[in-house]
């Protein structure tokens, strides 16, 4: 096993002969939410530790709403959509490409239930410098879904006008997130 110096914080391999070398990684699971049969209106990660450099959320999600492409929103520190939020996206649907934007906390569109049984969107959401109080937070989301006839691939961003350290993240939409949606929050040292 690795041994950590309390003085310097550095890791070294075990001095015990025969032990495997275990290198401490910079990518650690903080929390995971698995959506059950009843669905979930909001996904909340609270009490986010401030010991990492960056955050990443990996999502596998669908909505219980009736329409493909339902808008999804992200809020920090339990502050709902307000002045100063902005979003932008570049996305393609297999036929054309669109650049767009607006003034709220939108991050992405999800797959709708009635049109696409058992189809989920994939999202990788990065929040860099989440505890840095010298900057607003810029959310970057690489996402997509394919429902065998419709879908998007896109890169989206959201300006969260908060310089406060991020201790809570909520991901929200008008309907519920469907069963078997999963959201995994990671800290990156």
């Amino acid at each position: 096993m690795a041994i950590r110096s309390l003085k310097t914080g550095t890791f070294t391999r075990s001095g015990m002969a025969g032990n495997p070398v275990i290198m401490p990684g910079s990518y650690e699971s903080i929390a995971t939410v698995d959506v059950g049969a009843g669905g979930a209106a909001t996904i909340t990660f609270s009490n986010i530790p401030q010991t990492y450099t960056h955050l990443q959320i990996r999502c596998f999600a669908r909505t219980t709403g009736p329409t493909n492409g339902e808008n999804t929103y992200i809020y920090f520190n339990n502050t709902s959509n307000g002045t100063g939020y902005a979003w932008h996206v570049v996305r393609g649907d297999g036929a054309s490409v669109v650049g767009a934007g607006g003034a709220n906390a939108r991050i992405v569109a999800n797959v709708g239930t009635t049109n696409t049984t058992s189809t989920y969107s994939a999202m990788i959401i990065d929040v860099l410098d989440y505890s840095n109080t010298n900057k607003n937070k810029t959310v970057r989301n690489l996402y997509g879904w394919d429902a065998n006839g419709s879908g998007y691939i896109g890169l989206a961003s959201t300006l969260v006008p908060q310089t406060a350290a991020t201790t809570q993240i909520d991901i929200d939409l008008a309907y519920n997130f469907g069963q078997y949606s999963t959201f995994a929050l990671y800290g990156v040292n």
Binding site: S26, T53, H88, V90, G99, G101, L128, T158, V188
Partner: protein, 165 residues
């Protein structure tokens, strides 16, 4: 198993600098990831990315699809504008967010990379960019430099380099 990511080095800009450098990059990883949050001291967004201090722009190429908040630009150039910084006229205290993935960085072949990067702004004008790039160098990458096309990289910009196993 969680992604096997290991921090190699990081840079936080304390006052505006013309160059951010990662030097002596070890060769013991499979791939490199660079996460950055940057702002320029000028209104330009292009952030030049150089490998092994190769300052010949002819050795770099890229293709990109970029949204500007209202429309889309397809672009292909012989140049090293692989990344973007928030311009100085964007919303105050707001920085770009980007990730550069460099697979097989020790290969003796030319290097390819993928980049997803965004600027943000409480207005229409942004850059939302998906890019693939090439560097023709065949030596292992041991150094990466970032230069703003114009001006300097501003205070509180951060760059974090990771090795991937």
């Amino acid at each position: 198993m969680a992604l096997q990511l290991f921090k190699i080095a990081d840079v936080t800009v304390a006052s505006p600098v013309t160059i951010v450098t990662f030097n002596n990059i070890p060769s013991g990883y499979t791939d490199l990831i660079l996460k950055y949050s940057a702002r320029s001291t000028t209104t330009t967004t292009a952030l030049q990315t150089l490998f092994n201090n190769d300052q010949n722009a002819a050795n770099y190429n890229y293709r990109s699809v970029s949204g500007n908040g209202a429309s889309v630009v397809n672009d292909a150039q012989t140049n090293w504008y692989f990344s973007v910084s928030n311009p100085s006229n964007a919303t105050a205290l707001t920085f770009s967010s980007g990730e550069i993935y460099i697979p097989n960085y020790t290969s003796s072949n030319q290097k390819s990379l993928s980049v997803d990067s965004v600027t943000e702004n409480n207005a229409t004008a942004v850059v939302t960019q998906l890019l693939v790039g090439r560097w023709t160098g065949t030596a292992a990458i041991t150094r990466i430099d970032f230069y703003q096309l114009s001006g300097s990289t501003d205070t509180n910009s951060t760059f974090t380099l990771y090795g991937v196993l």
